[in-house]
């Protein structure tokens, strides 16, 4: 394959073409990054989040390993980590959404060796959508299909304008596609949300529904899709929107050639959670009796989709997998990290590339603070600061090669720009796995 590195005049400057930004689930693989003395001085095509991701990258000058706050060799840290994990009776491994699938595969292997529980940030992201999919299935497609065919695009309970800035231009709104030669002009864009966000302002139609009425709104649309008569007054009371407007939307949905619903955590994090998602997946399925219709959760982190895939192919279940019996068990609400921590069950933890000390409930944080745990992260976070053992690791995509999965499950290749003085998650986890096996002998 063609080399992606072009050498400009200045020999100290290196340009890597079609490099991949792993900050969000869009996983844009068309970024040309310019590197001078191990600093990224340009990231062509990157969005505001991507530019911040690339420009702020600097090898953290912390030591590669800290044990109880004191600098230590990576080998010492690995030994301590392995001892913590093998001594535990209910150890958990959590995070994994911001690292390569190669590292994720090793992490699940550690979970198997220590008879622990493996969970990813999916459980507090679109885990509920995953549960909904297990209930009713999902009609979906890759993002290129949205770009080439999607003539009615509905954004529900999400704000990609701020969370996935290039989604509009690359995939869902602007691109001229095979069946949409005029791009944006050939598309109708609909926003459904409780806030009039930046996304809402880019829409042709916007439905500002009552807070926490997503399920009622979806049920109204399902009823209209099936031709079930509904009471206009109740629809208005329930959703804050006139029935006539919902009927108009349904007419447009049925008239569309290829309808697309892209949804965010406004559904999964709000009262109803997985059943909000199930209502939406059901609506998209129902619509296929009338036309082609697909639905897609807007995944957040760079490789959270890879985490779902890796945990699934190795264990059979997508997240919250408990292996304490020597074989995988799955039960969201029981083996998921928010629960095992908040209930005070977990007695040790291996936290990879995420920040539960900032993003979890108080009871969960208090438990994590009270047990020995290991944290891997390129950056300094509340979680690394409270950890027993910390590894400062190299950044995937920028320093580390490998594979990540875009929000639509498409695997994408990484083209690192320059090496890091710190080891990769893969290196550290592989060393921990080897040490765990030695201790188990």
């Amino acid at each position: 394959m063609s080399t992606a590195v072009t050498k400009p005049a200045d020999p100290s400057v290196k340009v890597i073409e079609d490099s991949t930004c792993t900050f969000c689930g869009c996983v844009c693989d068309d970024i040309d990054i310019t590197v001078k003395d191990n600093h990224i001085i340009d990231a062509k095509r990157a969005c505001v989040l991507g530019k911040s991701w690339f420009y702020n990258h600097h090898a953290d000058d912390r030591p590669s390993c800290l044990i109880e706050g004191r600098p230590a060799s990576v080998a010492e840290g690995v030994d301590r980590a392995a001892r913590i994990l093998t001594a535990a009776r209910y150890p958990i491994i959590y995070g994994l959404s911001d690292t390569t699938s190669e590292a994720q595969r090793v992490a699940v292997g550690i979970g198997d060796s220590i008879a622990g529980t493996v969970d990813t940030t999916t459980s507090v992201c679109h885990g509920p959508s995953g549960m909904a999919f297990q209930g009713v299935g999902e009609v979906t497609c890759t993002l290129g299909e949205v770009a080439n065919r999607g003539d009615l695009i509905i954004f529900w309970g999400g704000n990609p304008a701020e969370s996935h800035p290039r989604h509009f231009t690359k995939y869902s709104l602007m691109p001229k596609g095979m069946f949409l030669p005029n791009g944006r002009k050939d598309r109708t864009a609909v926003g459904i949300d409780v806030r009039k966000t930046k996304t809402a302002k880019a829409m042709d139609l916007f439905f500002q529904i009552k807070p926490r009425s997503d399920f009622e709104a979806l049920w109204t649309l399902r009823a209209l899709a099936k031709g079930v008569e509904v009471d206009p007054k109740q629809v208005k009371d329930d959703t804050g929107i006139e029935l006539a407007r919902w009927q108009d939307l349904m007419d447009r949905m049925k008239a569309a050639k290829f309808g697309v619903i892209l949804f965010g955590m406004g559904l999964t994090m709000t009262r109803g959670k997985h059943l909000n998602s199930e209502a939406l997946l059901s609506l998209a399925r129902d619509m296929n009796a009338h036309t082609r219709f697909v639905v897609k959760p807007m995944r957040g982190h760079g490789n959270v989709t890879g985490a779902d895939n890796v945990v699934t192919w190795q264990t059979g279940y997508p997240f919250g997998v408990n292996m304490s019996r020597g074989y995988p068990r799955f039960n969201p609400g029981e083996y998921t990290t928010s629960d095992t921590l908040a209930r005070g069950e977990a007695d040790a933890a291996l936290i990879i590339a995420c920040d539960p000390m900032a993003n979890f409930s108080q009871p969960a944080r208090e438990r994590l603070k009270s047990i020995p745990y290991i944290a891997l992260d390129p950056k300094d976070t509340p979680t690394t600061r409270a950890a027993t053992v910390v590894f400062t690791t190299a950044t995937y995509g920028i320093n580390v090669p490998g594979t990540v999965y875009r929000m639509d499950d498409v695997p994408i290749f990484l083209r690192p720009a320059f090496p890091s003085p710190h080891p990769s998650d893969f290196d550290v986890l592989s060393a921990i796995q080897r040490r765990v096996k030695e201790l188990k002998q």
Binding site: A88, R89, Y90, P91, I114, A115, G116, M131, Q134, G135, F215, E216, W219, T220, R222, A223, K226, V228, V230, D231, Q234, V235, D238, R271, G272, L275, M323, S324, R325, F330, N331, P332, G333, E334, G344, E345, D347
Partner: protein
């Protein structure tokens, strides 16, 4: 006398006693039962490390004593006999049981009678989420048996229920009877939002508190005094479940639904205006 298991352990790590059923221990000596292997997280350990064992198992009756809120799968898959728990219990009480009786004199956690296939569970305190429900991904929930909870419960009671009776004395959370295929769920206290959503067949009774608004996909088809309710109430009373007096005489509005699904289900809401 029956077999008595007094919980003495003090561990935050889940204790799982799957398989410790009356039929499994019947005829075993105390010392054999003390060697019965259970799980504490990822460690397989003898029962005696967690329980004081006394009495004998001949009569197929097990008494659990103490705070067992960290002990899970009590009575899971049991097919006969009796289990009495004096104290709180953890998750999956009577999960997939096919027969026998479980009484919890205390509170129970989530998944009481998960995918139950027969028998009776009576929780005399409160219980958690997903009572008498299917486990994730399954379109077949509880297929037979009776679950009674005197107190209040959480969300998704009777998720995809296929057959059987679930009665809640107190309040219930959201999505009671979600995607129900048949069977009966009765709630005598306040119920949370979106009751009976997606129900295909079966009966959901909402008898307490302020009557909830059903989803737009339900249709009112009248007000009456259904005879079969009287029969169920009598059955409940005979099982020692308290039925509020006004329920016997009240009028009930009948709603059909969920018309987004098959629409052959019925929701009965007690009219607050007494007849």
């Amino acid at each position: 006398m029956s077999l008595t298991l007094r919980y003495k352990a003090n561990t935050s790590v889940p204790v799982e006693v799957e398989g410790l059923t009356p039929s499994a221990v019947r005829g075993l000596s105390v010392s054999e039962i003390e060697r019965f292997e259970i799980f504490n997280g990822n460690r397989k350990l003898p029962l005696a490390e967690f329980f004081d064992v006394s009495g004998d198992s001949a009569d197929g009756r097990i008494e659990f004593l103490g705070n067992l809120s960290g002990v899970h799968w009590i009575g899971a898959k049991m097919s006969e006999g009796e289990i009495h728990v004096r104290g709180d219990v953890g998750r999956h009480v009577g999960s997939e049981m096919t027969g026998g009786t479980i009484h919890v004199h205390g509170n129970a956690s989530d998944w009481v009678g998960g995918e139950m296939h027969g028998g009776l569970i009576h929780v005399h305190g409160n219980a958690g989420h997903l009572i008498g429900s299917a486990y994730r991904g399954s379109k077949v929930g509880m297929t037979a048996g009776t679950i009674l909870v005197d107190g209040s419960v959480g969300n998704e009671v009777g998720l995809t229920l296929r057959r059987g009776l679930v009665a809640i004395g107190g309040a219930c959370g959201d999505f009671v009877g979600f995607n129900m295929a048949a069977g009966t769920v009765l709630v005598f206290g306040q119920c949370g939002n979106r009751p009976a959503a997606g129900m295909r067949r079966g009966t959901v009774g909402l008898f307490g508190g302020t009557p909830p608004t059903l989803l737009v996909s339900f249709r009112k088809s009248g007000v009456f005094k259904p005879l079969f309710l009287q029969l169920i109430f009598r059955q409940l009373q005979s099982l020692g479940f308290a039925v509020p007096s006004d329920c016997w005489t009240a009028n009930y509005s009948l709603y059909s639904g969920d018309h987004v699904a098959l629409g052959r289900g019925e929701v009965l809401i007690r009219e607050t205006t007494a007849s």
